[in-house]
Symmetry: C2
Subunit: 265 residues, 2 copies
C-alpha cells in the first residue's frame, strides 16, 4: 500500500523523495506518515512507574553526579548520557531522538528544549510502530502542557531517513541514539549495522557546529557487538580537526552498554 499523501503539517519534512540507496533497503521503506500528535493528560508517578519509565521521577543529575555515580555503580550509562546532553542542549534548540523506544529519551529531550517561545523541537523516530505508539502514549501521560507536547514530532520511519523530516533550516544541537531492541518489545527486532551507519552519517550532516551525536550501544543481544563495531568504526573515522569522538564503557562487564559521544567542533 502506498504511503498516505503528505499533509500540510508535513511542511517540516525536508525531502519528499527517498534516495535510490534507501529504497533498496526494505527495512527502511516504512511509509512516511504524518507525525503523531498527542493531547496532554497528566500521569501520576505510579502510572509512569507502571509503564517502566522513571525519567520524570528522578532529580536531574549533573554530569558530575552521573559520571561519579556511573563509576561507583549507582548510575546507568543512560544517566551519564542525559547529564551530558543537559550540558550541551539549550532551550529553543532542535534535537533528534533517532530511536524513540518507549519515549524516555524523547521526554528528557523535550524538557531540555521546551521554551516559552515554542521554538524548541524534538524530532523523534522509530522504525517500529509499537515504539512510536509507546512514546506517544508516554508523552500524553507525562507532559502537562499542550504547547510543550506540540514541540515533539514523531515519525514511524527508519533513522537513516532523518534528513527527510528535520527542516533544513533548523540547526540540530543533538542527535541521540539508543541502539538495540525495544525494551519490552520483540527482541528479534533490532537496529542493524547497515542502517545505523547510514543514520550516523545523516546525523553528522545535519548536526550544527558545537552539537553532539550521542550513541548508547546495547551489546548483550545477538548482533549487538557487530553494531558497536560499526559505531566505533564511524567514530574513529571522524576527522580530528572537526570532531572529538570519545567512548565510555565498563571494562569488567563485557555486555554493559557502551556510550559513544561525538562532538562536532
Amino acid at each position: 500500500m502506498p504511503p498516505p499523501p503528505l499533509r500540510p503539517h508535513l511542511l517540516l519534512i525536508r525531502s519528499q523523495t527517498l534516495t535510490p540507496l534507501l529504497r533498496r533497503r526494505p527495512s527502511c521503506d516504512a511509509a512516511l506518515r504524518r507525525p503523531r500528535q498527542f493531547l496532554s493528560a497528566r500521569a501520576s508517578g505510579a502510572q509512569l512507574a507502571a509503564m517502566g519509565v522513571a525519567a520524570t521521577q528522578q532529580p536531574e543529575l549533573g554530569a558530575d553526579d552521573a559520571v561519579v555515580g556511573f563509576l561507583t555503580g549507582r548510575r546507568k550509562a543512560t544517566e551519564v548520557a542525559h547529564a551530558v546532553w543537559r550540558s550541551i542542549v539549550r532551550k529553543g534548540d532542535t534535537v533528534v531522538d533517532a530511536t524513540c523506544g518507549n519515549g524516555n529519551d524523547t521526554l528528557a529531550l523535550l524538557k531540555m528544549v521546551a521554551d516559552e517561545k515554542g521554538q524548541g523541537r524534538v524530532y523523534g523516530m522509530d522504525i517500529q510502530d509499537s515504539a512510536i505508539e509507546s512514546t506517544s502514549t508516554f508523552l500524553k501521560m507525562a507532559v502537562d502542557d499542550d504547547h510543550q507536547g506540540e514541540l515533539v514530532k514523531l515519525f514511524p520511519i527508519c533513522h537513516s531517513r532523518m534528513e527527510e523530516i528535520v527542516p533544513k533550516d533548523a540547526p540540530v544541537r543533538l542527535v541521540a541514539f539508543n541502539l538495540g531492541y525495544l525494551p519490552g518489545g520483540d527482541k528479534t527486532l533490532i537496529t542493524v549495522p547497515k542502517t545505523t551507519e547510514l543514520a550516523l552519517k545523516a546525523a553528522s550532516r545535519i548536526l550544527s557546529s558545537g552539537g553532539l551525536i550521542s550513541v548508547l550501544v546495547y551489546i548483550g543481544h545477538p548482533g549487538g557487538r557487530d553494531e558497536l563495531n560499526v559505531v566505533e568504526s564511524f567514530a574513529s573515522s571522524l576527522p580530528i580537526n572537526s570532531w572529538v569522538s570519545c567512548k565510555l564503557q565498563m571494562v569488567n562487564r563485557p555486555i554493559a552498554p557502551v556510550l559513544i559521544l561525538l562532538n562536532k567542533k
Copy 2:
C-alpha cells in the same frame, strides 16, 4: 652498595624486607631510602608556569565540567581524573601517587587530603630519582605551609613496592597512576607492563572499600600500547561484585591517553 639503614621516621614503612618475587626484578630493586622532606618556599605563578606545571593556577573543575570539557576538546584526560578524584577523596584521607613524575598529581592530591588535624597523607613514589627530585622541588615551591608539606612522603622506589611504604593501618582512598615516561625526562625510561601489573595488584590490596584506582595510560610511545593491554586485562579481571571498572578514551585520536578508573565497592 646496600641501601642505607632505615631511619626512625621510616616507621611508616610497612615491611623492611622485599619479597623474593620483587627481588628478582632488578628494575624494582632500587634502594629503599628515607622519604624526602622539603621545606616550604612559595613560588609565583610565573615560576610554576616556567616549570611546566599549572595545577595550582587553574580553578577546580567538577567532574561535570571536566567530562564535557574533555568531550568538547577543551579539557585533558588528566583534568577529568583530577575532577573524579575530588569527588572521591576527603580531607584527612590517605592516598598514593604511584608515579610522581613532576609532582603535579602529588600536589593535587595534597590539596585534597590536607586537613587541620594533619591526618591526611600522600605517599608518593617514582623509580626515577630525577622524578622524586622534581616533585620535591615543585612541592617546595608550590606549598605555602610547612605542616602541609610534611603530609607528603616521597620514596624513590618502584610502585610495585607500595605496600612497603604505606602503613597497614591506613585505609587508602586513592591510588593514582600516570603510566608512560617522565615529562621532560628520558623518554627511554618508561613504566613497564610487568611491574605495572604488580603495582596494580598491590594497589587493589591496599585500597579501602569505596576507594579508587585511577590509571592514566599514555600510549603514544613504544611499549605504551602493551602497557595499556596489561592495565585493561587487569581491569577486566576484577570481579563485578566488588569492583566497577570503566574506561574513558578518545576514539578518533588513537594515541591519546586512556583513563581507566577502578572503584572498589
